[in-house]
């Protein structure tokens, strides 16, 4: 079977065709799918050591069980992504265990360590909501059958994670931890807004949308996130730097995106606009928790390889 041309692929996908095997793909479709799947699997994977580090601050056994269940879900979602990458011919052993920490493709947000139970709760409410928005978009549009079907379950589990965040915020708000929640919101809200990436005016989505590996643009997805994240915070009486512009029915930010982030202080300098090139540089450099979190994932494998090597 000859490899179909890119135009043929796009035409068939637009007619509603779902691809089931790598043989049906053009090189560019396959490359694009591998890129998106790697970002997705890396994101699920790295959230595990990030959340695990924060979960050590669980205030009760029940809370710890919930946090660990979420971490278990994230690892299984990562496993699904890497498993599909294997079918596409990717050497996932090397991808997961031999890659330099800075080469992982998860969002910068996960490189900034969470320091408390409160921050873990807000991460569930914000970061898992971003995951829910992004994966929900893939689930509804994805032209690659194996991934689309796997996402039916992933979607439900992410829903539980963000509900865990919402319930948690509600409890903390009622329980006298309002200041601590507000402090977490202050740095984690803009962090999630930035997560969605370049605005549509600067972003070329390439063929991601034509291939139906993504259904909506960055700005549309960011808007979807704001549509539920802002009312959640406002409903609980927390301040966020965004509001609904009633006239146009769109959520607007109250600061110029993007702005400078003080990594050491975990503070956004709202009066210091920067360019997206500068953001991309920070993302590429990676954040303070990057090496530690990747090491948590890779260490055991390296130890086991060393033991196996000694026996030979």
């Amino acid at each position: 079977m000859t490899t179909p041309s890119d135009d043929q692929i796009v035409e068939r996908i637009q007619q509603g065709h779902i691809l089931e095997t790598p043989a049906e793909m053009s090189d560019d479709y396959r490359r694009t799918l591998i890129h998106i799947l790697t970002v997705s699997a890396d994101t699920e994977m790295i959230s595990a050591p990030s959340y695990y580090t924060a979960a050590k601050n669980s205030p009760s056994m029940n809370n710890l069980i919930s946090a660990l269940a979420i971490i278990q879900d994230e690892l299984s979602h990562a496993h699904i992504g890497y498993r599909i990458l294997q079918d596409l011919g990717v050497d996932t052993e090397a991808l997961i265990y031999d890659r330099a920490p800075t080469a992982f493709k998860h969002p910068y947000a996960f490189d900034v360590p969470l320091r408390s139970w409160v921050e873990l709760i807000v991460a569930n409410a914000f970061y898992d909501r971003a995951g829910f928005v992004l994966l929900g978009d893939v689930y509804r549009h994805c032209s690659y059958g194996p991934w689309r079907r796997a996402l039916a379950k992933v979607d439900k589990e992410e829903n539980f994670h963000l509900r865990h965040g919402e319930n948690g915020m509600r409890r903390l708000a009622a329980g006298g931890q309002r200041d601590e929640v507000q402090r977490a919101i202050d740095w984690m809200f803009p962090m999630t807004v930035e997560w969605f990436g370049l605005p549509d005016s600067l972003k070329t989505h390439g063929r991601q949308i034509a291939y139906k590996l993504k259904g909506s643009t960055n700005d549309q997805l960011r808007q979807q996130w704001l549509q539920t994240a802002v009312p959640l915070c406002e409903g609980l009486g927390f301040r966020v730097p965004a509001h609904l512009d009633q006239a146009i029915g769109v959520y607007v930010l109250e600061y110029p995106l993007p702005v400078e982030f003080d990594e050491a202080e975990r503070r956004w300098l709202m009066d210091r606009p920067i360019t997206w090139e500068q953001v991309l540089l920070r993302w590429k450099r990676r954040g303070p928790g990057n090496a530690m979190f990747v090491d948590m994932l890779q260490r055991g494998r390296r130890q086991m390889r060393a033991l196996a090597g000694r026996r030979h």
Binding site: N62, N63, I65, S66, L68, A69, I70, A152, K156, E157, N159, F160, R163, H164, N167, R171
Partner: protein, 103 residues
């Protein structure tokens, strides 16, 4: 005075945090009694490490306190009977089948 049936009806509004299926249809409700405005609700969960226990109890408390005549909710957890798929109602089975989940 609220009756156990009224409380049970209210519990039908509470869904599992993962799947939008009522906790009654999920087979999680093992007993309901009301005495002097206190609703005593016995729940089981799909596993002893169910991550949603607190969330479900919070949802139940909020809803049952809105039943006229209920002023307090007291929970008990039971692991006997052991939860299994057999406890799913026919309505829940139909819903799961529609989502492509084997039950």
């Amino acid at each position: 005075m609220a009756s156990a049936d009224e409380v049970l009806a209210a519990l039908r509004d509470i869904t599992d945090p993962e799947w939008p299926v009522s906790i009654v249809d999920m087979g999680l409700v093992c007993g309901v009694a009301v005495e002097d405005g206190v609703a005593r609700i016995t729940l089981t969960f799909t596993s002893t490490a169910c991550p949603c226990m607190d969330m479900i109890r919070d949802d139940v408390r909020d809803r049952v306190l809105r039943v006229p005549g209920v002023r307090d909710v007291v929970f008990a957890t039971t692991w006997d009977p052991v939860w299994s798929k057999e406890r799913l109602s026919e309505a829940a089975r139909a819903q799961f089948r529609r989502w492509g989940v084997a039950v």
